[in-house]
Amino acid sequence: MTDRADVVFSCRDLHVFVEDREIVRGVDLEVRAGEKHAIMGPNGSGKSTLAAALMGHPAYRVEGVIELGGERVDGLPAHERARRGMFLGFQYPVAVPGVSVASFLRAAVSARRGEEVPIREFRKMLAEAFETLSIPKEFMGRSLNDGFSGGEKKRLEILQMLLLRPRFALLDEIDSGLDIDALKVVSEGIERAAGPEMGLLLVTHYQRILEYVRPDVVHVFMGGRIVRSGGPELALELEERGYDWLQPDAGPVEAAS
């Protein structure tokens, strides 16, 4: 038995169903404080379903155990998971017309804290975070994600992660649709937000972002399962050899770490 005190996130025997279809077929994960994990897999492998289900998306039926900081959260709605420190960076952040970025962020930070954040403190936090992510200040007054470019949306996701200070963050294809400059900015933001306290799970299709955000553990996800886990070298291997050499039905392989 290893010490579980520093496990910020775990799931055991997780199955996810969309109506009667089983999309995620038995996943075990354990992420410790300060660790960065990457889940890599081909398109259609169920990665995004896994991420949304972990966050508590109401469209999915979930079986298995999900724990955040040793506390079970699988029965909780999304907002309760968020308040306890789980964060999902969306692959496709949703536009909410008429709701300004600033008023949304204030509501989110207040919800996470459990009390209204004072306006002066909030303004200061906001200004710093915008600076870090190189987002122009005008965006504070714009409608949330409405008419934003792909890169702008992704930066705003990371900005939210910075402000909300999660214990465990899931980032779903945060690298998709980013050019190399935006990828650098986003990666720096992730590094800044992810301190020694936070656990991180990057869901990605490509190895590219892992050159900037170095993972400790890489999992290969195929056919609704983790088929192999290893160190950062596994990502490079996938880059060279693709996914075909891994058999989705071979069953999970013990984690290398």
Binding site: H79, A82, P97, V99, A111
Partner: protein, 411 residues
């Protein structure tokens, strides 16, 4: 009292009108008598029984108009209070070029935008309006701050009438706020004449009491190059029909109608909008949004009519309905009548619940479902709120917040 010659004479006497006023009112009374209630087969009346809006008796009423309605917010150029059977109360120091005065039944401009043949409610108001105000803005005058007209009554029938005559190149904002009216009927008519190049903002706000019924008609006539921006808000009453529109009578005129309603349990709303393009190169836009909770209902009929000579026109119409409960219901019929081919015209309508993707996105950030819904609804109303003049937003925000609060408590 019934609507007859004696009643009409009594109202005119009470408002100290001369023979011209009495004569014009009596002519309208004839029109009223000759008009049957509209047929339900017409789209305009398909969803609402006109008989349910028709008062069974008329004033003049005792002047106990349901308590003092309180001060007008913001910094209006003038605050006008209309009460049944009284001359308007007018406060404020008006700039040169603007006059606000009692409206006389004999005013020759009456009926230019809303003729009495429009329908029985319009004819009834023309014959028997029991409070009226005339706002005149001289050519070239720009008025700072809104002229804020508040129509307040207790029960019974109240027939207020507003006439706004804006001279060439002048600029003015008029707020028309309907309050009170519990258990009664509000039959209102507003006419706005926008001279060449005039810029008019009009903000009708319906926040009648629970139990009030009403029929509110608003028409603007926009001369060449005039622009009219209407921002309308429907919140109150039990059964209220609002009929809004503009005639784009001169070349290059424009009209924008943006508005919303927030319907609570048991309320029924019926809105009609019309943009009638009579001249070339006009532009019009309609954006009407409804948010319905409980067992509330909204019916909307919208018409864009483009006459043969009105070439090069752009006209848009959109109605979006957000249903926050399974019992709420929205009906929508957008119509186009286009008599020439040189136009750009679109229309659309949607009826849907809150977008679950938006809700999940907000909830994934820690907002509970009620907060998330409130934020989404607030955003949905924002296009209208963003452009109302100073004071109106301050008036509406707490009303809207209270409505949305009640919504959360009802779960």
């Amino acid at each position: 009292m019934p609507l007859d010659e004696e009643t009409v004479r009594r109202i005119a006497t009470r408002l100290e009108e001369g023979e011209a006023g009495v004569a014009a009112r009596l002519r309208a009374l004839e029109v009223y008598r000759e008009q049957p209630l509209p047929r339900r087969s017409l789209h305009l009346w398909r969803y609402t029984d006109p008989a349910a809006l028709m008062p069974d008796g008329l004033g003049p009423l005792p002047a106990e108009a349901g308590g003092a309605p309180g001060p007008v917010p913001g910094r209006p150029a003038a605050a006008v209070l209309l009460r049944p059977g009284e001359h308007p109360g007018i406060e404020g120091t008006l700039p040169a070029g603007v006059t606000v005065e009692p409206l006389d039944g004999g005013d020759p401009r009456l009926g230019r935008a809303v003729p009495e043949v429009r329908g029985p409610f319009e004819a009834m108001n023309r014959a028997a309006f029991d409070a009226g105000v005339l706002v005149r803005v001289a050519p070239g005058t720009a008025v700072e701050g809104p002229v804020w007209i508040r129509a307040a009554s207790g029960g019974g029938a109240f027939l207020p009438r507003i006439l706004v005559d804006v001279g060439e190149g002048a600029t003015v904002t008029v707020v028309e706020e309907h309050v009170g009216g519990a258990g009664g009927f509000r039959i209102a008519v507003t006419e706005i004449l926008a001279g060449p190049g005039a810029r008019v903002e009009h903000v009708p706000i319906q926040r009648l009491d629970d139990g009030a019924r009403g029929h509110l008609t608003v028409r603007t006539v926009a001369d060449a190059g005039a622009s009219v921006a209407t921002s309308f808000v429907s919140l109150g009453g039990t059964l209220v029909k609002m009929d809004l529109g503009a005639r784009l009578a001169g070349e290059g005129a424009s009209s924008e109608l943006l508005g919303f309603l927030l319907g609570g349990d048991g309320q029924r709303f019926d809105h009609h909008t019309v943009h009638r393009h009579e001249a070339p190169r006009g532009r019009s836009d309609i954006g009407f949004r409804t948010v319905l909770t409980g067992r509330s209902r909204s019916a909307y009929t919208g018409l864009i009519r483009i006459e043969q000579e009105a070439r090069g026109v752009e006209a848009y119409q959109e109605n979006r309905n957000l249903l926050l409960s399974k019992e709420a219901r929205a009906d929508t019929i957008p119509e186009l009548e286009i008599l020439n081919e040189d136009v750009q015209c679109t229309h659309g309508a949607t009826v849907s619940p809150v977008d679950p993707d938006q809700a999940f996105y907000l909830e994934s950030r820690g907002l509970d479902p009620v907060e998330a819904e409130r934020l989404i609804v607030g955003g949905f109303l924002e296009p209208t709120l963003a452009r109302v003049p100073g004071g109106v937003r301050e008036l509406l925000e707490p009303v809207i917040a209270a409505r949305l609060e009640a919504l959360g408590a009802g779960r």
